[in-house]
């Protein structure tokens, strides 16, 4: 981990008034938030809420219509490559080359990220994520669980300070999914890595995440720790909170349809968790 190179006061992610407009559709509508270093934050919302669009803008793969994104202190519109070298990303919707073996993929991405002592790093990842038995097999010939582990290994090859995960355990059986969560939890604890993850699995969110950002129709409509949200909505778990927000059946006032400056006194941080503002 090279997190020491980021001053501790600088959030790992800092987003201000972020907008993405596609013709008449406003996919992301003026969101602002900070993600503190070392935290695990969930970006939640139903299909079409704007999560993937937001993640694409955080990665610099999509240009915002307006607003700013700073990742690890770097402005993504001017200086994205310095941030990208210390970040990584995994998604079941962005494949790695399937005709290449796991080892070959790790070699390629290791070089792209400038990983020193690459073969040794690959060996370590192989041991940590139990890749050894299939590391020299083509990715396309692996099971969904093995592919997810390989993709996770790619996303950790550069020992990132910041990891963006899009549905990290989608399509995995409960046992494999649990092992992945366990690994991520231990890895974060050991390295201090920051994670932003989009997930539809609320058990995963409750287990992994310190903070939650709830999105709906391109806006952040609520935020806080999982426990705060469950308490405030008077529900038994995040699954029910999610359904309340998605269906608009919540009776919780004030924290809805918030967008704009996270410093705003009207913002939900007045009653929600302080870690994600």
């Amino acid at each position: 981990m090279s997190s020491s190179s980021v001053p501790s006061v600088v959030p790992a992610i800092s987003v201000r008034d972020l907008v993405k407009q596609y013709n008449a559709v406003r996919a992301v509508d003026g969101i602002s938030f900070d993600v503190p270093r070392g935290s695990v934050t969930a970006l939640l919302g139903g299909n079409g809420a704007g999560k993937t669009t937001t993640i694409a803008m955080l990665l610099g793969a999509l240009l915002p219509t307006s607003g700013s994104v700073h990742m690890l202190g770097h402005n993504m519109s001017k200086d994205r490559f310095r941030a990208l070298a210390r970040m990584n990303f995994s998604s079941p919707y962005a494949d790695l080359p399937r005709k290449l073996t796991v080892r070959e993929n790790l070699r390629i991405y290791g070089r792209l990220y400038g990983v020193p002592k690459l073969e040794s790093r690959i060996k370590d990842l192989s041991n940590e994520l139990n890749l050894t038995e299939f590391i020299d097999r083509a990715l396309g010939k692996l099971s969904a669980g093995q592919q997810t582990r390989a993709s996770l290994a790619k996303s950790l090859v550069n020992e990132p300070d910041l990891l963006l995960l899009d549905e990290p355990t989608a399509s995995l059986d409960p046992d494999t999914a649990d092992r992945i969560r366990e690994y991520l939890q231990a890895h974060c604890k050991r390295t201090g890595m920051t994670i932003l993850l989009a997930s539809h699995n609320m058990k995963e969110v409750e287990r992994l995440c310190d903070n939650v950002l709830m999105m709906k129709r391109g806006r952040i409509v609520d935020r806080g720790t999982p426990r705060d949200l469950v308490t405030r909505y008077g529900r038994k778990d995040m699954e029910e909170v999610f359904l309340d927000v998605a269906r608009g059946t919540s009776a919780v006032p004030a924290a809805t349809e918030h967008h704009g400056d996270p410093e705003s006194p009207e913002g939900p941080e007045t009653h929600a968790g302080e870690a994600v503002r």
Binding site: K20, Y22, T53, A56, L59, G60, A61, L62, L63, F81, L84, A85, M87, F89, S91, Y93, A94, D95, L96, P97, R98, K99, L100, E104, R107, I108, Y109, G110, R111, L112, Y113, G114, K154
Partner: protein, 269 residues
């Protein structure tokens, strides 16, 4: 600089892994240039025999036509190789990972140019070597001028590939047939197999702004008159550098435009 070279090497390595383990892909790259060379060799012999049949005529016909066939294929394979290097990422749905890594667009372009040069060499060398036992013709007998011809055509293949790839980025992989069609549309203007005076004046004028036009004039000067004139090669080189710069800028613009419209991450079959 070292980091940049390492990233360029990484993308090259990705294509090397794919090619080196796929015999069908390798054979496909070697097959067409070799078949064309064999076919055009017999065509040359046929016309040379009908035109008098002496050994000098045969040598000139072989040198002119076979040299043109092989060198045109260098241009075509370089362009196609570059466009395929992009399409490979689309087919693999790998763009989403590649373009959120520290790989700069210019580095990616340099990598796929290197890949296309390698593909072109893999295709051209067997054809050139086969011509020796088949027709007693060695393209390597041209000596130093061959390097001028070769590198000018490689650079033209690069900028054509960059421009076509920009079109593919803009229009999507559905337009992939452009990768195979576009260069052939330029062949008549480049006067590959004939002297430019058979072309209508307007086609000659278009030809003059294409580097390959000057290269094939140079080739005919060498094979038909035994004289190598370096001036057209420098004209071709100057034009190539200008177009290469334009190709890089246009592809860079297309990639940035794809980032604006969100098509970079969605790119795939």
């Amino acid at each position: 600089m070292t980091a940049s070279l390492s990233r360029i090497y990484a993308v090259w390595l990705r294509h090397y892994y794919i090619l080196s383990r796929s015999i069908p892909r390798l054979l496909e790259i070697m097959y067409w240039p070799s078949v064309q060379m064999i076919l055009w060799g017999f065509v040359s012999r046929f016309f040379a025999a009908r035109g008098g049949g002496d050994m000098t005529t045969l040598d000139v016909a072989l040198g002119t036509l076979l040299g043109a066939v092989m060198l045109w294929d260098v241009l075509f394979r370089t362009q196609v190789g570059l466009s395929i290097a992009y399409l490979e990422e689309i087919w693999a749905r790998n763009m989403g990972h590649l373009f959120v890594s520290p790989l700069r667009p210019a580095e990616w372009m340099a990598s796929i140019m290197l890949v296309s040069l390698c593909r072109s060499l893999v295709g051209a060398l067997p054809a050139a070597l086969l011509a020796v036992p088949f027709y007693g013709f060695s393209v390597f007998d041209m000596g130093l001028p061959l390097l001028f011809f070769f590198f000018n055509l490689v650079i033209m293949g690069w900028w054509l590939g960059l421009l076509i790839t920009a079109l593919l980025v803009k229009a999507g992989p559905g337009a992939e047939s452009l990768a195979w069609m576009t260069t052939f549309a330029l062949a008549p203007f480049c006067a590959v197999y004939y002297t430019p005076d058979v072309l209508p004046m307007w086609m000659q004028q278009v030809g003059h702004i294409l580097p390959a036009f000057h290269v094939f004039e140079g080739l005919r000067g060498l094979t038909m008159q035994g004289v190598f004139n370096a001036a057209p090669m420098w004209t071709a080189f100057g034009l190539n550098l200008l177009y290469l710069l334009i190709g890089g800028v246009v592809l860079g613009w297309a990639l940035n435009n794809a980032r604006r419209h969100g098509t970079l991450l969605q790119a795939g079959e």
